[in-house]
Amino acid sequence: MSDGRVGRVGRVGLLGRASCLALVLVAPAILPGTLRAQDARQIVGEAQKRTDSKSQRYDGILQTFDAKGKTSEKRWIQDRIGAHGQSKVVIRFTAPAEVKGVALLIVNHPDRSSDQWMWTPAIERDRRIALQDRSTRFFGTDFSFEDLEERDVDQDDYTLLGSEAVEGVDCWKIQSVPKPSKASQYTKAIIWIRKDNYAYVKAESYAKEQLVRRLDYGQISSVQGIWTARELKMADLKRGSVTRLFLDKVEYNLPLKEDDFTLQAIRR
C-alpha cells in the first residue's frame, strides 16, 4: 500500500552539478520527449527512494463511510520489511472482536504482481488471493486488493503533465500507465507529487478513461526523517463511498524478523 512515505534527499558533488546543468540546458533540445519521460520517472523514483526504509510499523484505524453515511471502523497493525517494490507486508486486524486475528500477507515483487494470502483463525485456514481477484474491494473498503500492493517505479511508464497546486502546495502532475507486463484493473493513474519534499498528495485512478478512485494523502509530517502521510482517504467515485485510513504510532527501521513475514508466521 502506498503510505505516503517520502525518502531522504541525497548528496550531489560539484562536477556532478555542472554536468547536470549542462545536461539540463542542452538535452531538452536534442531529446525533448525522452527528457520529459525521464523527468517524470526520475521524480517518481526519487519519491520512492525518499520513502525507503528497512522496516516499518504502524497502528491503522480504518473507517468506512458508505453512500448512505453508514460507518464502520476496524483497527490493524501493519508491519513491513524490505526495499520498496520488493517488500513484505503483514496486516493483522485487532478490532472489532469478530475480525481479530485475521491476517494478510503481501509479498511484493518488482517485476510482477504481488502474492497475497489471507489467514482466518476461526477456521484455521489460509487462502491465496488469486491475481484475478485483485480488483475486488478489500473487505468492504474502497481500497481494492491491488491498491494494497507496492508498485515499483519500473512497473509503469510515466509522463510529466506539468505542475499544479494542491491545497496551496506546488506539485508535479504525472501520468502513470501500467506496463503491459503488469496486470492491473486500472488503465492509468494521475499522481501529484510535492515539489518540496517529493511526498505524494493525491492519486487518481482511471479504468478505461473513467475516473474510478481518488486517493488523498493528508496530515503529511516527517517521521524519523521520512515524510509520511498519516491520513489516507480513498474515495470510490462510482459508489460514492469513502474509506479513511489513519496511521498511528508510525515507526521506521525497527528490528523486524524476515521469518515473521511468511505464511507459517501469519498462521500463528
Binding site: 476496524k74 486475528g101 489471507m118 482466518t120 476461526a122
Partner: protein, 859 residues
C-alpha cells in the same frame, strides 16, 4: 343423381354440420365417453411428461442461475478434487477468472431442503451477481466479518420470507460437527441467482463450507470465465490437457443433460405408461366409431344414394374422429397439467430419493412443445382409431344399408385372417427375443402386442361361447341373453375387452416387476447390506452432502459391544459418459461379512484381488447395462491419476440404480486424496445387544457431533420405501385400468342397448320383467369384465416377461426373476368386476325406462 364427385371442402363442412353435429347432440353421453378415451390417454401423457420435465427443468434452471457468467465448469464427479487444482486452472492461458465452489443440500427440519453454495467471496463476484436487499451494492454489511466468522450465511429473500428470518437472525443447520447456529449476514433480493433452487439458496464462505460439510481440502468444482477472444472449445482442450481425463470440463448446461441421462430409465417407464394409456384411448375411440358406423348404416346408405361419394363418407367419419380427437386432446392437456401439478411434488421426491437429484420447490413447467405434441398425438390417435371404421363406412353398399347383425359378426375369412396374422406375428416376436439388438427386440414386442390385439376378439368370442352354459345354468334367461349378445355381436365388445386386456397386462407387468425387485432387494439386504447398525451424518441415505472424518472409525470401534466397523464411501463419477456410483469399501473386511455369492467371479479370489488393488468389482446392473464381463479392463478417471484395472467380480449391488463400481478404500484414498467416510457399518460383537450398542454410540457423540444411527431394520425400511416410491407409478396404472374398464364397458353397453332397443322392447312386450332386463345388462357387463380379466391375465403373463427384459436391458440392468403377481390378480378381479357392475347401472336403467312403443318401432 350426380354423376361427378362433389368438390371437397365446403360439402364436407356441410356434412359435419348437418349430419355429425346432430348425431353428437343426440348421443351426448356416448360422445362424451368416446372423447374421454382420448382425454385419458392425453392427460396421462401430458401429466407424466410435464411433471418429469418440471423436475429436470427446475434442476437445469438452478444450474443455470447459479452459474451466472460461468463459461465452463470443472468437476471430477461427486467426490471432488484437491485444492491444488485451482492454481493450475487459474494459471491456464485461456482462463480469465476461476473460482472454486462447493454445493451441498442440507435438510432444514420443518423447512425443506436448502442448497448451500460455498464460494470464495474475495473473487466470486466476478462470476455471480449478488443483488442484496436494501439496494446496497456491497455484498454484505461487513465482508471481513463474513469471512472471519465461519457461521456467516447469505440467504435468498424467498427463503428468508418463508422462514421469517432476516439479516442478523440465527438459523440452525446440521453440520459435520453437529447442529450449529448460523448468522444471516445478508439477504439476496429476487434475482437469477437468488431464485435458484426455488429460492431455497444460501451462500457461505467456501472454506467454512469445507469445515461444515467435512470436505477436508477439496472443492466440488471450479467455475471459470474464459478470456475474451478465446473459444470454449479451445479452452476446454487446454484444460483437459492440463488436468487430465479425470476432470470433466463442460459448460454448465451439460450438467442438466447429465441429469436427464440419469433419469432416462425413469423416463422410459413414463413413456411406456403414456403409450399404453394412449393405446387404450385409441381402442375406446375405435370401438365407439366402429359401432357408430354399424348403427348409422341406413344414414350412410341414404347419403350415398343422394350422391355422396365414398371419399366424402370416409372423410366425414375421419373428420368426426379428428374433431373428437382435437376436443379430447385439448381437454386432456388441461387435465394433464392438473395431474402434473399434483404429481410434480411426488415425482420430485421420488427422483430425489432414488436418483439423488436434489429436491426443490418448483413450479410446474408446461412446455408448449409438450402440449402441442400431446394434442397432435391425441388427434393422430383418434384419426388412426377412426381409419378402419371410416373405411368400412365408405364401403357400405346403399342397397344393403338396412342390413344389421351381420356386420357385428366376424366372417369366417376375417377370423381366419386374424388367426393367421396373429400366429405369424407371434412367431416373429418369438424370433426377435433372441436378438440382442434393441430395435429388433422392441419390434418383437410391438408384434406381440399387435398379435394379442388381433386375437383378442376371437378369444373373446371363444370364451363367451364357453361361458354360455355356465351362465345359462346360473340364470337361464338373463345369462343366456347376455351370452348371446356377446356371441352374436362380438365387434360391439371386442374393443372394450382389448382395451381392458392392455390395461391389465400393463398392471401385471409392473406388479410382477415390483415383486421381483422387492425380493431381489430384500435378498441383497439380507446377505450384503447386513451390518447391525449404520452410523450416518444424515437421516437420509440419499444425501451425500456431509461426510465423517476417518478417525471416527477407531472411536466407534472402541465403543463397548462393537465387534467390527467398516468404512463406506460413495459418490458418483462419470464412467463412459454416464453417471455411475463409485463405492470405496474395505474389501478384506467385506469379504468376511458378505454372505452372498457373486454373480460372476470367485468370492475369495475376487475380494483378495480387489483388496490388493489388483482389480475391481462391478454391480450386476452396471454389467447388464454396459455389457461388462469379468476380466474386462476398465478405465476410471480420478483426480490423482486414472485407475485401470480388470473386473474381478460381478456382484449384486443396489447402492445406486445407475449401477456401481466397487474398489478398495485404499485405492480411493490414493487416487482421490480423500479419506472421508460417507457412513460407518457396525457389526455388534457376540454377546452384545444391538440396542445397547446403538445407545452407546449415540451417547458417545451426544453434543459433540450430529450422527444418525440406524438399525438394519430401519435401513431396510428406508431402502424399501424408495423401491415402493419407484413403483408408485403402478398405482396410477391401476386407477387408469379401472377407469378404462368403466369407460369401455359403459360405452359398449350403451351401444349394445341402443342396438338392441327393439329386441329389448320385444322382450318387455312378451312379459320380461324390468329386473330381468336389468340383470341381463349387468351380466353382460360382468362378462365383459371376465373376458377382459382372462385375456388380460394371459397377455399380462407375456407382457411381464417383456417388461423384465426391458428392465434388464435398458432401464436398470436388473436381472429379475419371473414371478406372476398372484396377489395383484386377486385384487384386480373384484376391482374390475365392481367397476363393470357400476358401469352397467346407468345403461341398465336406460334400457328399462324407454317407451315400449318407441322401442318396438325402432329400426
Amino acid at each position: 343423381m350426380a354423376t361427378h364427385p362433389v368438390p371437397i371442402g365446403r360439402p364436407s363442412v356441410i356434412l359435419l354440420r348437418l349430419i355429425s353435429w346432430p348425431y353428437f347432440r343426440k348421443h351426448g353421453l356416448r360422445t362424451t365417453l368416446t372423447t374421454s378415451g382420448i382425454v385419458l390417454g392425453v392427460a396421462v401423457l401430458v401429466g407424466m411428461h410435464t411433471a418429469n420435465q418440471s423436475v429436470l427443468s427446475a434442476f437445469s434452471q438452478t444450474i443455470d442461475r447459479i452459474a451466472g457468467k460461468t463459461d465452463l465448469q470443472i468437476s471430477a464427479g461427486e467426490n471432488g478434487f484437491g485444492e491444488e487444482t485451482l492454481e493450475k486452472v487459474q494459471s491456464a492461458a485461456c482462463v480469465g477468472v476461476a473460482v472454486p465452489a462447493i454445493e451441498a443440500v442440507v435438510d432444514v427440519p420443518g423447512q425443506g431442503n436448502l442448497l448451500v453454495l460455498g464460494v470464495d467471496m474475495t473473487g466470486d463476484r466476478s462470476l455471480r451477481e449478488y443483488d442484496m436487499e436494501g439496494g446496497e451494492d456491497t455484498v454484505i454489511e461487513d465482508p471481513l466479518v463474513f469471512l472471519a466468522q465461519p457461521d456467516s450465511l447469505i440467504v435468498a429473500k424467498a427463503f428468508a420470507d418463508r422462514n421469517r428470518v432476516a439479516r442478523g437472525s440465527r438459523l440452525s443447520l446440521g453440520t459435520a460437527d453437529g447442529e450449529k447456529a448460523f448468522t444471516i449476514r445478508g439477504v439476496m433480493k429476487s434475482s437469477r441467482l437468488a431464485d435458484a433452487f426455488g429460492g431455497n439458496l444460501a451462500v457461505m464462505d467456501i472454506y467454512a463450507a469445507q469445515k461444515m460439510f467435512g470436505r477436508g481440502r477439496t472443492f466440488d468444482r471450479i467455475d471459470l470465465a474464459i478470456k475474451p477472444g478465446i473459444t470454449a472449445d479451445t479452452c476446454r482442450q487446454e484444460l483437459t490437457q492440463t488436468l487430465g481425463s479425470a476432470f470433466d470440463v463442460q459448460a454448465p448446461a451439460s450438467r442438466g443433460t447429465q441429469a436427464e441421462s440419469m433419469l432416462s430409465g425413469y423416463t422410459m417407464m413414463v413413456n411406456i405408461s403414456s403409450a399404453f394409456a394412449l393405446f387404450i384411448g385409441m381402442f375406446i375411440v375405435y370401438n365407439s366409431f366402429a359401432t357408430a358406423v354399424t348403427q348409422r348404416r341406413s344414414e350412410i346408405g341414404i347419403l350415398r344414394a343422394l350422391g355422396a361419394s365414398r371419399s366424402q363418407i370416409g372423410g366425414l367419419f375421419l373428420g368426426e374422429s379428428a374433431l373428437m380427437g382435437l376436443v379430447g386432446s385439448i381437454v386432456g392437456s388441461a387435465v394433464g397439467v392438473l395431474i402434473a401439478s399434483a404429481a410434480a411434488s411426488a415425482i420430485s421426491t421420488l427422483v430425489g430419493d432414488v436418483y439423488g437429484v436434489a429436491r426443490q420447490a418448483m413450479d410446474v413447467a408446461t412446455q408448449p412443445l409438450v402440449l402441442g405434441s400431446a394434442i397432435a398425438i391425441g388427434v393422430t390417435t383418434s384419426l388412426v382409431a377412426g381409419v378402419i371404421p371410416a373405411r368400412n363406412a365408405a364401403r357400405v353398399d346403399p342397397v344393403h344399408a338396412l342390413k344389421k347383425g351381420s356386420y357385428q359378426t366376424f366372417s369366417m375369412g376375417e377370423s381366419r385372417l386374424r388367426a393367421i396374422l396373429a400366429s405369424g406375428l407371434g412367431v416373429v416376436s418369438a424370433a426377435c427375443l433372441t436378438a440382442h439388438a434393441r430395435p429388433i427386440f422392441y419390434a418383437g414386442y410391438a408384434c406381440v402386442i399387435v398379435a394379442a390385439l388381433l386375437i383378442a376378439p376371437l378369444a373373446s368370442l371363444g370364451l363367451a361361447s364357453l361361458l354360455r352354459p355356465t351362465l345359462r345354468w346360473l340364470r337361464p334367461v338373463e345369462g343366456a341373453l347376455a351370452a348371446d349378445s356377446l356371441i352374436q355381436a362380438p365387434r360391439r365388445t371386442s374393443a372394450s375387452v382389448a382395451a381392458l386386456m392392455l390395461s391389465l397386462a400393463l398392471i401385471l407387468a409392473f406388479a410382477g416387476m415390483a415383486r421381483a425387485s422387492y425380493r431381489s432387494i430384500v435378498d441383497w439386504l439380507d446377505t450384503s447390506l447386513n451390518a447391525d447398525l449404520f452410523v450416518m451424518p444424515s437421516p437420509r441415505l440419499d444425501l451425500r452432502t456431509t461426510r465423517f472424518p476417518a478417525a471416527m472409525a477407531a472411536e466407534i470401534a472402541a465403543v463397548p459391544g462393537v465387534g467390527r466397523v467398516q468404512m463406506f464411501r460413495n459418490g458418483r463419477i462419470t464412467f463412459r459418459d454416464k453417471p455411475v456410483m463409485l463405492v470405496a469399501i474395505e474389501m478384506n473386511s467385506v469379504a468376511e461379512t458378505n454372505r452372498r455369492e457373486p454373480i460372476a467371479g470367485i468370492a475369495g479370489a475376487m475380494y483378495r484381488l480387489a483388496a490388493s488393488g489388483q482389480g475391481l468389482l462391478v454391480s450386476d446392473s452396471l454389467a447388464q447395462l454396459q455389457q461388462l464381463t469379468v476380466g474386462q479392463v476398465l478405465e476410471i478417471p480420478a483426480p490423482r491419476g486414472g485407475i485401470r484395472l480388470p473386473i474381478v467380480g460381478i456382484v449384486l449391488d443396489y447402492t445406486d440404480q445407475q449401477g456401481s463400481i466397487l474398489i478398495d478404500r485404499r485405492l480411493f484414498i490414493e487416487h482421490w486424496g480423500d479419506d472421508t467416510v460417507s457412513d460407518f457399518r457396525v457389526f455388534v460383537a457376540p454377546g452384545a445387544t444391538i440396542a445397547d450398542v446403538h445407545r452407546r454410540i449415540v451417547d458417545r457423540y451426544a453434543g459433540r457431533r450430529t450422527i444418525f444411527v440406524l438399525t438394519n431394520e430401519e435401513a431396510r425400511k428406508y431402502i424399501l420405501k424408495l423401491t415402493n416410491q419407484w413403483f408408485a407409478l403402478m398405482n396410477v396404472q391401476i386407477i387408469i385400468a379401472v377407469l378404462v374398464a368403466f369407460l369401455g364397458i359403459v360405452n359398449s353397453l350403451t351401444v349394445s342397448i341402443t342396438d338392441r332397443r327393439r329386441e329389448l322392447g320385444v322382450l318387455t312386450a312378451v312379459g320380461a320383467l324390468r329386473g330381468q332386463v336389468r340383470r341381463t345388462i349387468w351380466i353382460e357387463a360382468l362378462m365383459v369384465g371376465v373376458l377382459g380379466l382372462t385375456l388380460g391375465f394371459a397377455f399380462g403373463a407375456i407382457n411381464l416377461y417383456y417388461m423384465l427384459q426391458i428392465v434388464q436391458r435398458d432401464v436398470a440392468g436388473l436381472r429379475l426373476s419371473y414371478e406372476f403377481p398372484v396377489t395383484t390378480t386377486l385384487v384386480l378381479v373384484p376391482a374390475i368386476l365392481a367397476a363393470a357392475f357400476v358401469a352397467a347401472i346407468w345403461p341398465a336403467e336406460s334400457a328399462v325406462r324407454g317407451s315400449l312403443v318407441e322401442a318396438l318401432e325402432y329400426e
